[in-house]
Every structure is written in C-alpha cells, then in structure tokens.
C-alpha cells in the first residue's frame, strides 16, 4: 500500500528499531541511501547496509538476515515484482520500498499489511482498480453448497435446471472477467518505465522533518541527474523535477547573494546553472569533452573523417584556437572562458545541435572544488562498475558511496579519471561499430553484438556501462543512417559477460525519438522469448530489460524475439 505520511508511517516506525537497508547498484539508490544514512545518524538508528545487484543477491541477503530484523527498507529494488512470493517472509516482517521502477506490481499496491510503498502519489501510476483484478473466492463456495443440498424429487429437477443455468451464467461471467483481467494486467505491465527518483523522495522526507541540509539537497540533485544521464525519464519530467529542486536550492543558498552575511567559503554552496551538456568538460579539455559526449559526437558524426572536419569548423566558427581547446579546461584563457557558453550555443545552433545547454546544478566548496551534477554521476557510476577487483565484492559499492561525501575528494578524483576512460572507451566502440556496420536490422529491432576481442569489452560486461554504450550507439546510428524506418527501431545490444561460463549480457532499449516516453517493452518480451525457446536465461537485474543468457542459446532466443515482435 502507498504510504501517505512518510514521516509518521515510515520514519517514526523505524526510528526505534533495527533496520536492514537493501540498496540496489545505481547512483540514484546510492544517493537515496546517503540521505537516509544521514537521517539515521541524527537519530542514532541502528541499521545494516547490504548492497544488492540483482534478485538473487536480494534473496540471499533476506534469507541471511530474516531472523534478526523485522523491518526492511528496499531502495530502488522490489517494486516491480511480487515481493511476498519471492521472499516468503513471516507475518510480522515489514517492507518499506522506495523504488523508481514502474509499473509497480499490483500485489504490492494492494497488500495492506506488510508492504509499504514510499512513492509520490502524483506520479502517473495508472494502477488498475482493485475489483478489476482481485475477486473474492466466496462465490465459488456458495455454488457448491447449493449443489449438495438435498430436497424433494419433484422440485429437484426444476431446481436442478435453474441451478445449471445459473452456474453456466456465472461461469461465463467469470471467464469474461478473467479475460478482461488478463488484458488489463497485460496493458499495465507491458511497458517498463521510471518514476520519481528515490533520492528526491528521501529528500522530501528529510524536508518534512526539517532536517534537510545542503548536502542532502545535493544528493537529491545527483540522483535526479543520474536518471537524466541514463535516459530513464522524459525531458519534461526532468524539467519539472529540476524546478522543484530549484526552489529548495534558492531556499538554502540565498545567503550567498548578500555580501554582508555570506557564508564561509568552506560551506557547501549549490547553484543553478544553465550549463553545457558536455561530459566532464571542466575536468578535461574542451576538445576531449566535445569528442566524447554522445550528443556532440552523434550530431557531428565524429566517427568519420567528414565529422572530424566539421568539428574543426565548429571550433573555428567559435574562434577558439586549437591549442587552447586541447589543453586542460582550467588552464584556458580567461577571456575565452568568460563567454564560452553563449558562444558555443550560438555556433551549435548552426551545426544542428539545438539543445547543447541544459538546466542543471553545480556544487562549490573551498576555493578549488567545483563540480557539476553530471560530473558526479559519471564519476560515481564508473567507481561502482570498476572492473578492477580490489577486495570483496562490495568494496566498489562502498567506495562509490564514500565518494559522494565531501571529505573524500581523492575517491571522487579517482572516479573522474575512471569516467574519462569509460567515456573514451564508449566513443571508440561506437565509432568502430558504426564504421564496420555492426548494427544490423533484424526486422522489428536493431541488433548489435560485441565480439570478445574488442578493446575494452570487459568494461561493458556491467549493466549500467552497457546501457550507456547502447544508448550512445543508438543515437549515433540514428544520425548516421539514411533509412527512415531504421531510425524508429529499438536496439538490442549484446556483450560477452563471462568468457569462462560462456554467458552474454543483453540489454534492450526503446527507440530514440524526439519525444519518446522512455517506455521499454523488452522486459516482458525477453521473458516470453525465454519461455518459448527454453533458453537458459537469468533475469537477475532489477531492470527487466537486462538479462544474461548462454552464448549458445543466443540465436534461437533472437529468432523467438523476432517472431514475437513482428
């Protein structure tokens, strides 16, 4: 059931208990976790943090801890499946689910006792009405009782006929109801999409309790920006949420305008920015950033020689000398940096890049440290999905979690370096895929598969990196192809996951259109195809559109998908 008063029904209940936090592996969940941890530290709540990256880990963690805890908080996992069936908990365990995955499973919505959903009510949820899906079983029993009643023989025959008619009517009604129910559920669960970021929900909870700080606001901003960077929400939703956060930003940061009462330079300051969309440009050189941001490299078609020439023209149009542009951004001449944003926007309009500027936020503390929200998102993602194993499984998660705190700037800088490597790897892979025509149209969708020997292919065995790669690839493909029909197709991307076990990780992403609603039907499609072909698949990830399967089953799986979707 939905929690209407977050504070009373959620926080006040757990503040006196020991709680188990199960946190999914994405930046939005990390930010929500940080906010919740800060609130717990204020009130001395005892909690245990368990990072989970898939359903199997969730189940093992639950089985391990179910004897010690009665209250479980799930962040960015668990809303889109029937939790009670998967976990089989006792009667007195309670689950608080704060998840941005939609659609929310109907059992979770209508369960009154054990599952509480921390979700904003004004998200367009479209949950089907209770009566359409659930039906009391009592009516069945009444029928059978009537049948077994004995009575006089003369009336018996008449009553028998009436009973038969009644029963067939009821059976027909029941069948109609069930058909309608299947249809409603199919429509409801067909498309996967994302709702409000969990970090923003947690920040609202902190705000309601008047414990919101600038730091927590920053984490909420990073959570929202993560959803935008990974293309999980529509542009309109992003702009609406940015507006909501902007109100909080001005409330917390208005003192910086006034010279008299300005805060110490060490205090965190957040500012609203209408900033460039170039990834990590303030920590890199402008040239590298232009080459490695998907938006610019797709529009300028930087994988071809023509594209490189266009880039040079673009820079010349702005009057930026190559020597300046190729050095670190902080060392560029001040005169060039001052009007950079306006200059770039003007020139970008001429080259077909109308949305080069985007509304975002930046944080500023001390004299040296200025970061934009998307920088932090890229840094944290690459820390979390770092393929270099440095210890037990969870060190990457903990490192990424730590890098979000102000005091751990060294981890943040390490994350920025890893992010640069990752972005370069993505661009090179995209360029090679497009130049060698690896993206083939299979009919209802486009398909691309990475071979094992491809450089940096190990980076793409992780789900979030592979998703970023696929989205970039689709954007670039749409800009490069002349086939109008292909531009509207979705993409399925496959990459080798574990060479020894022979598994492949596959993601499906929706088509790239101007006003797409980011709804993804691949979750259900993958499930059906796996069932029909008996392929050995593992639907482990919280996003249903990411699966792992055995390399041998790949071709029959794809054939089943083609026939399913055509």
């Amino acid at each position: 059931m939905f929690v209407s008063d977050c504070r009373r029904e959620f926080y006040d209940v757990i503040v006196t208990q020991r709680v188990l936090l199960l946190v999914a592996s994405d930046v939005d969940a990390l930010c929500a976790c940080k906010i919740l941890q800060a609130l717990f530290q204020c009130d001395h709540v005892q909690y245990t943090l368990v990072p989970v990256s898939g359903w199997q880990e969730l189940e093992t963690a639950f089985l391990e801890h179910k004897d010690q805890f009665k209250y479980f908080v799930l962040i960015n996992c668990g809303a889109n499946v029937d939790l009670l069936e998967i976990l089989q908990p006792e009667e007195d365990t309670f689950f608080f689910v704060c998840d941005s995955h939609r659609p929310i499973n109907v059992v979770n919505v209508y369960n009154d006792t054990q599952i509480k959903l921390l979700v904003k009510q004004d998200d367009d949820l479209d949950v089907p009405a209770y009566d359409d899906i659930f039906r009391d079983e009592e009516e069945e029993e009444e029928d059978s009782e009537n049948e077994s009643e004995g009575s006089e023989p003369s009336d018996k025959r008449r009553r028998f006929e009436e009973d038969v008619i009644e029963r067939t009517m009821k059976r027909r009604q029941r069948r109609e109801w069930e058909a309608r129910r299947r249809e409603i559920l199919f429509d409801y669960e067909q498309y996967e999409y994302h709702g409000t970021s969990s970090a923003m929900v947690m920040f609202d909870l902190a705000w309601v309790m008047s414990k919101d700080l600038n730091d927590m606001l920053w984490w909420a901003i990073v959570g929202l920006t993560d959803q935008w960077v990974q293309d999980k929400i529509t542009q309109m939703k992003y702009v609406t949420d940015v507006g909501a956060l902007q109100r909080h930003v001005s409330r917390h940061n208005h003192r910086n305008e006034d010279e008299e009462h300005a805060l110490s330079i060490d205090c965190t300051r957040i500012a609203f920015d209408y900033d460039l969309r170039l990834a990590l440009y303030q920590h890199w050189s402008l040239y590298e950033s232009l080459c490695n941001t998907s938006y610019t490299s797709a529009r300028l078609k930087l994988w071809s020689v023509q594209g490189q020439k266009r880039l040079q023209e673009f820079l010349a149009d702005m009057g930026l000398p190559l020597k300046q542009v190729k050095q670190k951004f902080n060392s560029m001449d001040m005169s060039l940096k001052e009007n950079l944003r306006e200059m770039i926007e003007e020139s970008a309009n001429k080259f077909g890049m109308k949305d080069l500027r985007v509304q975002t936020f930046s944080i500023h503390f001390g004299f040296k440290n200025k970061f934009s929200a998307s920088d932090i998102v890229y840094a944290t993602t690459s820390l979390m999905e770092n393929i270099e194993k440095e210890g037990p499984e969870t060190t990457n998660f903990i490192k990424a979690l730590d890098s979000l705190s102000r005091g751990n700037l060294d981890k943040l800088h390490q994350g920025l370096d890893l992010a640069k490597k990752q972005l370069r790897a993505i661009q090179q892979t995209v360029a090679s895929c497009i130049c060698t025509n690896l993206v083939i149209s299979q009919g209802p969708f486009l398909y691309c598969s990475l071979m094992e020997g491809t450089p940096d292919v190990k980076l793409f065995s992780k789900p979030v990196s592979l998703c970023l790669l696929s989205k970039n690839l689709l954007k670039s493909f749409v800009c490069s192809t002349k086939n109008k029909r292909c531009k509207l197709l979705p993409l399925i991307m496959a990459a080798p996951m574990d060479v020894e076990q022979g598994t492949v990780i596959m993601v499906g992403i929706p088509p790239e259109t101007e006003s797409s609603d980011k709804k993804n039907f691949f979750g259900r499609a993958f499930e059906k195809a796996a069932d029909s072909t008996g392929s050995r698949t593992l639907h482990n990830h919280f996003d249903m559109s990411i699966i792992e399967l055995k390399t041998e089953d790949r071709s029959k799986f794809l054939d089943a998908l083609i026939s399913l979707l055509s």
Binding site: C42, D43, H261, S264, D266, C267
Partner: protein, 185 residues
C-alpha cells in the same frame, strides 16, 4: 600533553545553543544540564553542543568575543605590547577551531574570524619564541610569563624543558673537570 588532550579539556567550556527539541534536566557526573526547550537559549558544554549540532538538533550562538571588531582590537593590542595580553578565553584557539569546523554556518564572517585568530596566535607564538630565546641566552634561573593559554604552553613546553635539561647536563659536564682542577691545586 598531546594537543588532542588540550582540546578535550577545552570542550568543557560552556557555550550557548538554541535547541529545537525539548528535554527535561539531565543529570550528568559533571553537573546538571537543561532543561531544553525549543527556541530558548541554554548553556551547555562544547562537547554536547557539537554533538547536537551534528545531529541537527540545535543552532550554535558564537561566544561574544568571537566577533570581527573585538578580535581586531585584541590582535592590534597583542601586536603593540611586548608581553602577553590577556585573551578572551583560556581556550580561544581550540574553541575557534571547533566552532568554525562544525558550525561555521551559524557564525557570521567565519573566514575573517579565522584569519584574525590565526594572526593573534602567530604574534603570541613569536613572542614566546623570543622570550625562550632570551631566557636561554641570559641563562636565567626562572622566568614568569603571564596570560599564556594551555595550548601555547603545550606547544613549547616539552621541547623547552627537554632542551634545558640537555643544556644543564652539558653545563654540569664541564664543571667536574674545573672543580677537580681547583681541588688539586
């Protein structure tokens, strides 16, 4: 003594906070504290004030000497005099550090205050070094310095006493030779 120990002693000083929760009087070994009522200022030791501030349960009010005008006067006076002037609090350095680290958003003009306190500290340390230097040179037997705070004494204390011990040993090693001489004569 370690500087951390001096800071620990400094945390016993009282500072005013404005809590946002309510609690009855609490009875601790060191004394009674409270009662706490939201919006009403109350005096508590610094260790409790910092803990409550970190848990977002109060707002700190800077002590009255932590003000740009007053600190400028103190700094100027320190620079004029040759001896040490009395400081507004025997733990001014530790309190400044603690309050500015954890509660700088409650203290107006925090950066300037930090600079002024550091200036005063530097002047006093320079005077201390000068006085230790002249003490050693003139081989005085004892010296008296007024208005020093525990933190300042602590920075030179160990070094100065050990150095003087060494010098005493070196000096007494010269003496037996002389006295032996004089006796033989």
């Amino acid at each position: 003594m370690e500087p951390a120990e001096v800071e620990f002693l400094a945390e016993k000083e009282l500072v005013t906070i404005v809590p946002n929760f309510s609690l009855d009087r609490i009875h601790l070994i060191g004394g009674d504290l409270g009662p706490f009522n939201p919006g009403l200022p109350v005096e508590v030791p610094v260790w409790l004030a910092i803990n409550l501030k970190q848990r977002q349960k109060c707002r700190l009010i800077p002590p009255e000497w932590m003000d740009v005008g007053k600190l400028e006067e103190i700094r100027d006076q320190e620079r004029k005099e040759d001896t040490f002037t009395p400081m507004p609090s025997p733990y001014y350095m530790e309190l400044t550090k603690l309050l500015l680290n954890y509660a700088s958003d409650n203290i107006p003009k925090a950066d300037e205050i930090r600079t002024l306190v550091k200036d005063t500290w530097d002047t006093r340390m320079a005077k201390l070094r000068l006085s230790a230097d002249s003490f050693v040179r003139q081989q005085e037997a004892h010296a008296k310095l007024d208005n020093l705070t525990l933190m300042e004494i602590n920075t030179t204390g160990t070094f100065l006493t050990q150095a003087l011990d060494h010098m005493y040993k070196l000096r007494t090693n010269l003496q037996p030779g002389e006295s032996a001489h004089s006796q033989d004569f």
